[in-house]
Amino acid sequence: MSTKRFWTFVALLAVGVVALAACAPTEVIVTEEVIVTQEVVVTEEVIVTQEVEVITEVEVEAPEVPTGTLVRAISTFPNSLDHPQAAERQASTTDYQLYDSLVWFGEGGKIEPQLAESWEVNEDGTEYTFFLRDDVVFHNGEPFNADAVVFNWERASTAGFEYSYHWETASNVEAVDEFTVKATLDSPDALFLSTVADNWAMIPPGYFEEVGQEGFDAHPMGTGPFKFVEWVKGDHITMEANMDYWRGAPKIQTVTFRPIPESATRVAAIQTGEADIVTRLSSEEAQSLLGVENVKVVKYPVERVYYIAFNNLTTGVDQPTMDAKVRQAMNYAVDVDTIIAALFDGFAEPASGFVVAGELGFGNVEPFGYDPDTALALLDEAGYPNGFAMDMACPVGAYTHFEEVCEAIAGYLGDVGIDVSLELMESGQYWDLEANKELPPLFGDSWSAAGGEAFRRLTGALGGMDASYSAWSDPTIDDLLAQIQATPDQDARAALYGELQEYMQEDPPFIYLYQPVQFEAINTRVQGYDPLPFEGYDLFDVFLVGE
């Protein structure tokens, strides 16, 4: 074939192809095939990057010296970096990078040594003797010792802060010698150590006396792995590595905390790499980040339980729900699994009771499960074969999808003949009514609890007339809670929680709903980040790869 003929052939072929492409459907299929092959290539690329990620997690070692800047986006700016004044979790977990306490939470919420190397408890659980480390200095070089602990206790327990009660738990704290300190309690408090771990942040006495509260608020300091650098209100908080930290220098040079109130913007910030860790994402947002390059979604159960409360103190008196069988029936009537699947993409755990996963004594009871037949039988036994009517209320805008959850529950209860009229209320008004115990006999809410135990949630929601938000009182529960409080031994306490859980299934004061899952997203260059269930975390072990 000569060159000229060849080119004519090519030209004809090209024209033919174009003509075919314009009219023939077969050609369209060809282009589609091309797209398919491209898609295959893309999937392969994703697999490769995932493999790379796994390798980096295993092999990369922490840098020798603190390196890089970690940006953590939080949903609201802290009200204060003085730990006893921190008003909510995002504030207290931020400021805790500056401080240490005597003890800290380890695996599974177990208490571990921190500034105290060890401790002893007397037999009746009213005296705790802490043996302190002797090699700790504050950020300004002041030595940490027993006097500092005494000073901190005196300051925070008498300052009239809203959260001073965490320090008032101890009725006296005194120095035994330079590195031994003894805390005395009026009555045994099993949660004392977790209270200390969560709240007793140590600040330097000499510095505080020199600069005063205002000066300390402007430039806080403790013994923690990071030192305060600056705080531009509403914009950022900067901390830098404490090279003289008693556990050794941390592995990140600078940590910046940035408030981003809008969660959609936090999602954008992790995608652009402007933030390395973003907190408080919804399940939809977390799902939208799955498969995004350089982003890893982290999820963990939250120490919170959602519930519909019964009332035997005010509005619920003389109602059918005074009968334990009715309350059991109502637990069987609600299909919590379907609610979780439909509204939370499956990202929540059905609650088996008021003690949730990750807390002491969890695991000896099962969730009621969805069983409308048993529910009907129980209602029949209780003398309500045709059901009854009842009022229910839920707050609006306070919790994710909670309005829909309540509507679903009203529907499920309707299915077994319980005619619920649901009222959705603005949350401010709702909590006023709840505190005054004026809500309808069925009302929805949720309760968190810090410190690895459900104790404060239980006393808060079941404390009867003495507790602001309780609508329920039961002497058996009171008795078990008193025993739990007086039992310092963790295993014995776990058994008591178990007993309480069983009782609270026989005689449920709530319709147990679910334990939510918390989502965060982190950049894949962040290594060693492992948040605790109450949103606490320790940046000491965290480092950045590729810096």
Binding site: G234, R258, T265, A268, E426, G428, W447, G460, S468, Y469
Partner: protein, 306 residues
């Protein structure tokens, strides 16, 4: 002139009093702050103690008196959430909000005024069509939606601008654009319709028929008259941007007063909300006063009027 000024000043002070009354009353009908401010573990006694300490148990008149005497010197008490004086916190945030509002205003004026004028002088031209389209778009697109879309496209996709914060000059571009767009729209429409209206006035025809130069007609007769409604729009809108950029500041995590207001409402932080509301009201009233002064400067009818 002086009388005009004094009467406007009197009106402003009266309005300010009304605002103070409203601010005082409004935060007290939204619910009991004790239930929101206190932790869930708080006992009923703790709550009562809190109400007593904050003075929420006193008669309303006593509370109002206390509020007014503090408000006059800018003292709104300590923020409940932040535990520090409320007014200095507001002033801390002022530069960020001013920067955002000012940039947005400059953007709206620089784009909006020429477009509106050109459109008004050449109705039906293609620049006029573009201007009208932009104006309609600017005024009808919900700006929280636009803000999110812009973040998705210009920050996440293209990486042209940071998605949040106030770090570099680029940070202000997206929030200022979103904040300024509806104002721009309004300026375009106002300028255009004023020009159209004034062009048809008798005195313009007279000026033209007596042989005045086009340029003289525009500068002496048209622009001056167009300026009056424009100044009022700009004055009002600048006030609106200073106080009303709550959700734009929240979406872009812009550390200004709007974001502080959004958070303080969430915390039901009475003193802070009051300080913010009163401060914004004072700024808006001052701006209105300034606008009125500018009228007098532009419009001799006001200057020489009785």
């Amino acid at each position: 002139m002086q009388r005009y000024f004094l009467s406007k000043l009197g009106q402003s002070i009266l309005l300010l009093f009304g605002v103070l009354l409203l601010v005082f009353a409004m935060v007290r009908v939204t619910g009991d702050p004790a239930t929101l401010m206190m932790s869930r573990q708080a006992s009923p006694e703790d709550m009562e103690e809190f109400r007593e300490r904050m003075g929420f148990n006193d008669p309303l008149l006593v509370q109002f008196g206390r509020f007014m005497s503090g408000a006059i010197v800018g003292d709104f008490g300590n923020s409940l959430h932040f535990k520090t004086p409320a007014m200095p916190m507001v002033l801390d945030r002022l530069p960020a909000t001013l920067q955002l509002a000012f940039t947005a205003l400059v953007f709206a004026v620089v784009i909006g005024v020429p477009l509106g004028l050109i459109g008004g002088f050449n109705p039906g031209s293609y620049i006029d069509n573009i201007a009208r389209g932009l104006a309609l778009l600017g005024q009808s697109v919900p700006n929280f939606w636009l803000a999110l879309i812009m973040i998705l496209y210009f920050a996440v996709e293209l990486r042209w601008f940071p998605s949040f914060g106030r770090d570099e000059w680029k940070s202000v571009v997206m929030p200022a654009f979103v904040l300024g767009l509806p104002v721009m729209g309004q300026i375009v429409r106002m300028a255009r319709s004023s020009v159209l209206e004034i062009r048809g006035e008798d005195y313009i025809r007279t000026a033209r028929s007596k042989g005045l130069e086009r340029r003289t007609i525009y500068t002496k007769h048209v622009f001056r008259n167009v300026a009056i409604p424009l100044v009022s729009v700009i004055g009002v809108q600048f006030g609106y941007m200073l106080g009303g950029s709550i959700y734009i500041e929240a979406i872009f995590a812009w550390p200004g007063m709007g974001q502080l207001l959004e958070q303080s409402i969430g915390w039901r932080d009475f003193p802070l909300v009051q300080a913010l509301a009163v401060f914004t009201a004072v700024v808006v009233l001052a701006l209105n006063l300034l606008t009125d002064m500018t009228y007098a400067f532009i419009d001799p009818r006001i200057r020489y009027g009785k």
